[in-house]
């Protein structure tokens, strides 16, 4: 159990200037965890999330900055002395050893007495319900069982920090959901500070107490799942978190600095968002609307003139049972809307969609940063960045 602190951590692979390795793989990474926190690093492939984790593990050296575990700067400490345990995507079980020996390996290297080894392995095995597998070789196990053994190997060491590098991505969809819940349960039980890397935003949202969203080696936002969803810092986070993705429409700001217009839509900026537009100099802005916040409006003929509505032709209809996904052409954008399944829509039909004003997101047309973010309802866990 430990507090992990990353201060201005930089990774550069030292490629020649201009080559793809010359840019920083991770840039000025700052994060302070709470004791026993579950932190998820998420982002598209190549965003530096795994590199960051490998630097915490000590499998790669940080080019700059400090990494502190329980206050101790571990930048120059070899992996085995950092008091961490890591779970790998490929499980990385030693193929020639039994499950028991796999889990006992680290203890054996530390010359732990035999009965102590037995006690700790059995304890970990019972937590994970794999006692009956201890004599088997890894090749005789299913994917889910292997993953449990990999977790067991980490638990046995009783480390200060758990690192998990996409541990579920080799499992099939159903098992993944089960294991997801189980890892969360395990974390709650052991209370060990955990870093979890994934490219799957659903995994991140369901597991993380706090989520670090990364892109191109830079942190985009660090926040609780709810805040990421409700108050994304920028268009990348807004589009990355939530399925299906948020819709973005390019709108002109009317002279009253409140109305946001396109050819076939019209929104009104309210509250903090409206105030932000007063001081905003640009004439255009990105409007973001989540598919689940769009409503079908019975066409009364003059609907297009009202506030916070858009009109367009249905291009795709995907009934999913509980809900129906429709894609609607609004100006030059494809807008996805999640409608109740009892709403009857047909392909090619022109429909009107509405969105509550407080659900709108505004982003700067150039920098793509969020405009007029309201103060979060509850303070996020110890703020970083």
């Amino acid at each position: 159990m430990a507090i992990v602190e990353l201060k201005n951590v930089v990774k550069n692979y030292g490629g020649h200037k201009g080559s793809k390795d010359s840019a920083n793989a991770v840039e000025n990474f700052n994060l302070l965890t709470e004791d026993g926190e579950f932190v998820v690093l998420v982002g598209p492939s190549g965003c530096g999330k795994s590199t960051t984790m490998r630097m915490i593990a000590g499998l790669e050296n940080n080019t700059g900055g400090e990494i502190r575990i329980s206050g101790r700067d571990v930048s120059a400490v070899p992996p085995k002395d950092r008091d961490i345990a890591m779970v790998f995507q490929s499980y990385a079980l030693y193929p020639h050893m039994s499950v028991f020996e796999n889990m006992a390996f680290s203890l054996r290297l530390k010359k732990t007495p035999n009965d102590e080894v037995k006690r700790r392995v059995n304890e970990a095995a019972s937590i994970l319900n794999i006692e009956h597998l201890l004599e088997r070789k890894p090749r005789a196990l299913s994917g889910g069982q292997r993953q449990r053994v990999a977790l067991g190997r980490a638990i046995v060491r009783q480390p200060q920090v758990f690192l998990m590098d996409e541990p579920l991505s080799n499992l099939d969809a159903k098992l993944r959901v089960d294991m997801r819940a189980e890892i969360v349960k395990l974390h709650r039980k052991l209370g060990v500070t955990t870093f979890y890397v994934t490219h799957d935003q659903v995994e991140a949202m369901t597991m993380g107490q706090r989520i670090v969203v990364m892109l191109d080696g830079k942190i985009q936002q660090v926040d609780t799942p709810q805040n990421l969803y409700e108050r994304p810092n920028n268009m990348f986070v807004a589009g990355f978190i939530g399925t299906p993705s948020m819709n973005f429409l390019r709108a002109k700001i009317a002279s009253d600095r409140r109305a946001l217009e396109g050819e076939s839509f019209r929104f009104k900026a309210e509250g903090a968002r409206g105030t932000a537009l007063d001081t905003h100099t640009a004439n255009e802005v990105w409007v973001g609307v989540r598919p689940e916040h769009l409503r079908y409006v019975e066409d009364s003929g003059h609907g297009a003139g009202l506030e916070n509505m858009m009109r367009g032709t249905i291009e795709v209809v995907e009934p999913l049972g509980a809900v129906t996904m429709v894609q609607v052409q609004i100006d030059d954008a494809r807008v996805t809307a999640q409608l109740d399944s009892h709403v009857q829509v047909t392909l090619g039909e022109t429909i009107t969609l509405a969105c509550a004003g407080e659900k709108l997101h505004l982003f700067d047309a150039d920098s793509e940063q969020a405009l007029g973010l309201e103060q979060p309802v509850s303070e996020p866990l110890s703020a970083a960045v």
Binding site: K80, A92, L109
Partner: protein, 291 residues
Amino acid sequence: MSTTAPISRASMWPRIVLYAVLIVFAALFLMPLYVMLTTSFKTLAEIQQGNMLALPEQWTLTPWLEAWGSACIGLDCDGISGYFFNSIKIVIPAVVISALFGAFNGYVLTKWRFRGHKIVFGLILFGCFIPFQIILLPMARVLGVLHIANTTTGLVLVHIVYGIGFTTLFFRNYYETFPNELIRAAMLDGAGFFTIFFRILLPASGPIIVVTVIWQFTNVWNDFLFGVSFTSGENAPVTVALNNLVNSSTGVKAYNVNMAAAMFAAVPTLVVYVLAGKYFVRGLMSGSVKG
């Protein structure tokens, strides 16, 4: 159209031809072995009748005993047994040590990469293609300087040096596909450089160890050039002794003894192939196909 319909006559022909050709070639390749074996069990008188392919009318073990214990090689008439053990003394350390070096090189070249690792591997690989003749004189000098000229120890050294290129190639290609995450996991578990090698990598190297052992064993055992160049008299390996045996018979050629001696010289490689042959093919494949 039933799937159990008998195979038509026309479609059987290619198969018949195929098997016929295979059987003919198999017979052709086995013929020398057959002749050697039958000849070695015949009496000299029977051989002189001239029917090479016939089975012995009167089976005898005398040629085998003579070849092993009392045939004359040069001036000594002690058979090839001494030389056979010379070869054993050479082949075991040479194979074990060169395989270990190869495994170690492969480990470092794949899992502990350093600047210029490709060049180093390229140079080692180049060592595989240096013709034997080129190193004869320099090696003779080296053995002289080290005071191991005309000893089996000297031959062990020559074979280790020459074998490292191949063994490194085998192990490097095998370890290339060995998952790096396993190495990382071991590092986090607290294993150091040598612990990882001996406790993680080597135990998982079964197939490639078999390939390397077969390759090195046959090469070292069958070597003639180094044996004849760097040893003489009672220090020679069995291949050289066999040659001397055949050449030093005076008067009537004892074909049966020669054949028995040749069989003695060939048996160890045959045994290795029979015992480990199926692993050999598996091992050769496992380098290229991800398992």
